[in-house]
Amino acid sequence: MSDFHGLYQEVILDHNRKPHNFRAMAAPDRRAEGFNRLCGDKVTIFLKMDGDRISDVSFQGSGCAISTASASILTDTIKGKTRAEAESLFQKFHELVTGKSAGNGQEAEPAGLGKLAVFSGVSEYPARVKCASLAWHTLHNALDDKHEVVSTEADEPVPGEIR
């Protein structure tokens, strides 16, 4: 299985099997939905805010291992962070999965990403960037209190319309 360590790292597979914070929230302060129509990945992010700080976060949805693990690790990572800190992580995460981080894939752990670094392999699979980024775009909308459904299919360089 070692050939898949680029993308399907054990941490990702674990989060896919047993996603963290996988539950609906009774009275969230913020919530947003993401849906990639073409591949069927669906995610709903729930937030509890304490002023500017994210005091609790959970998600629900269904999708591929990359999208599920990404949402799960997102919830672990942003709990307790301020809005600005969460947005800054999103920025770094997006650079990582789209291959724009300096020294991508070479360094043991890209700076400041912590556990999110397990997604460094995604940049080599352009068709899967949208899976990894869906939860983060949805979080962004939740923080902005935007209610339209997010799609990240524009992140995919080649749309899925083939016979």
């Binding site: 299985m1 993308l7 073409l38 591949c39 591929c64 291992a65 319309e161 083939i162 016979r163």
Partner: protein, 424 residues
């Protein structure tokens, strides 16, 4: 589903068969198949998306551009005459391939999608009015849904959809009930790209004609695998995609009965589709040229003609028999895998295996198979209504061609086992 023991199938597939069909020899004709992908021998099982091209087609394209390139139907010079001859010879090849009555019933278009849009925007616009209906099936590709929706919206007409059963077979009784005096056209796939179902188009056409309704058959998935006889079928329109028929991309065919084509208004305006132009009045050219405005895809047409020559050389009957054996073998092997469910189990099926794996999203399966050098398609296959019908967002699809082997099916099975190991 009948499970066929391996040893029986192995003995029938391995080695040259009595009719001279030797898959290993055929593979030599397809240079692309020789490569390794991600360190593994390429196993190309995405033939329903596009087929690979034999060397003969690649050579024909190169030869055309190297030796004969010129515009058609225009010049008196030698090169133009050569290009025109090659272009029109290919039309006759397509005519014979489909057994059309006349080569003028063969119109070159960009592909099946353009062929269907052409019929919707010319025949449809002229003949379909408010409150009238177009009847399709629940297994259609988006390209045989959306052009009709556009037409219906423009005309205030209604799109009706004949349902399918859990095996992915069209319910002919329901289809018949939907035919009525408001129905102006039936448009149905010959073979479903997502399920592999071979529709009983002869019966569909008979039922529709009994109600005086013309029929368009989307033959994109059928032409590479089945013998087609548009006269015996008596279909009114038939569409073919060149790149699925071992030809280049960007070329396809619309067959139409001459009387229908002659009565239809043109699709695109421009050069070659006119007989005379003044600012007051333009007279249109005769068929097929009326529908071939502008410089056509000359190289594409020549490449398609060469693809058809290649298929004829191998023999459609040989292709059909071999693919059927391969499908039976693949169906039996996939059925051994716990947690794998085949979507599309029609009695009459082309070599398409759409499946879902319990607990594994098709995109994850597709990525892991790709790492094994195996090219399959994952997603909704441009047939979202089919996915809705089966309550799934997507499938993994392996679609076979006559150059695929039993060993490649085994590689797919091993790859799926690896997927299960990783996600287990």
């Amino acid at each position: 589903m009948a499970v066929i023991p391996h040893e029986i199938l192995s003995s029938t597939i391995e080695g040259p068969s009595s009719n001279g069909f030797d898959v290993y020899k055929i593979r030599e004709d397809f240079p692309i198949l020789k490569q390794r992908v991600n360190g593994k021998p390429l196993v190309y099982l995405d033939n329903a998306a596009t087929s690979q091209k034999p060397k003969a087609v690649l050579d024909a394209l190169k030869r055309y551009y190297t030796e004969d390139n010129a515009n058609v139907h225009r010049g008196v010079h030698e090169l133009s005459q050569r290009a025109t001859k090659a272009y029109e010879d290919a039309r006759v090849k397509v005519q014979h391939f489909l057994n059309a009555r006349d080569s003028h019933e063969i119109i070159f278009v960009r592909g099946t999608t353009e062929a269907i849009n052409l019929v919707a925007m010319t025949y449809g616009r002229k003949n379909v009015g408010a409150g009238e209906e177009i009847l399709i099936s629940a297994m259609e590709h988006h390209s045989n849904i959306v052009p009709w929706q556009i037409l219906c919206e423009e005309k205030g007409a209604n799109l009706r959809v004949a349902p399918i059963n859990d095996a992915g077979e069209l319910l002919l009784d329901e289809f018949e009930k939907l035919l009525n005096s408001r129905t102006k056209l039936v448009a149905v796939a010959h073979v479903s790209n997502a399920l592999g179902t071979i529709n009983s188009i002869d019966r569909i056409i008979k039922l529709a004609h009994r109600a005086n309704v013309p029929v368009l058959i989307d033959g994109a998935q059928a032409a590479p695998h089945l013998r087609i006889d548009v006269q015996a079928l008596d279909c009114d329109f038939y569409t073919v995609s060149g790149h699925k028929l071992f030809g280049p991309t960007g070329i396809g065919v619309l067959y139409g009965k001459a009387a229908l084509l002659e009565a239809m208004p043109p699709f695109h305006g421009g050069g070659d589709m006119i007989s005379s132009v003044t600012f007051e009045k333009t007279l249109y050219n005769v068929i097929p040229y009326k529908f071939e405005a502008g410089t056509p895809n000359i190289a594409g047409v020549i490449g398609l003609g060469t693809g058809i020559d290649y298929v004829n050389k191998v023999g459609l009957e040989n292709i059909g028999a071999y693919e059927h054996e391969l499908l039976s073998y693949a169906t039996a092997r996939l059925s051994e895998i716990a947690g794998l469910r085949i979507i599309g189990t029609a009695k009459d099926k082309a070599a398409v295996l759409s499946f879902v794996l319990e607990g594994v999203h098709p995109h994850d399966a597709g990525t892991i198979l790709d790492q094994e050098g195996i090219a399959v398609r994952t997603g909704h296959h441009c047939a979202q209504p089919v996915m809705h019908r089966f309550g799934i967002p997507a499938t993994t699809r392996a679609s076979l061609a006559f150059y695929n082997t039993k060993e490649e099916v085994d590689a797919l099975v091993d790859g799926i086992k690896k997927v299960k190991e990783i996600f287990g």
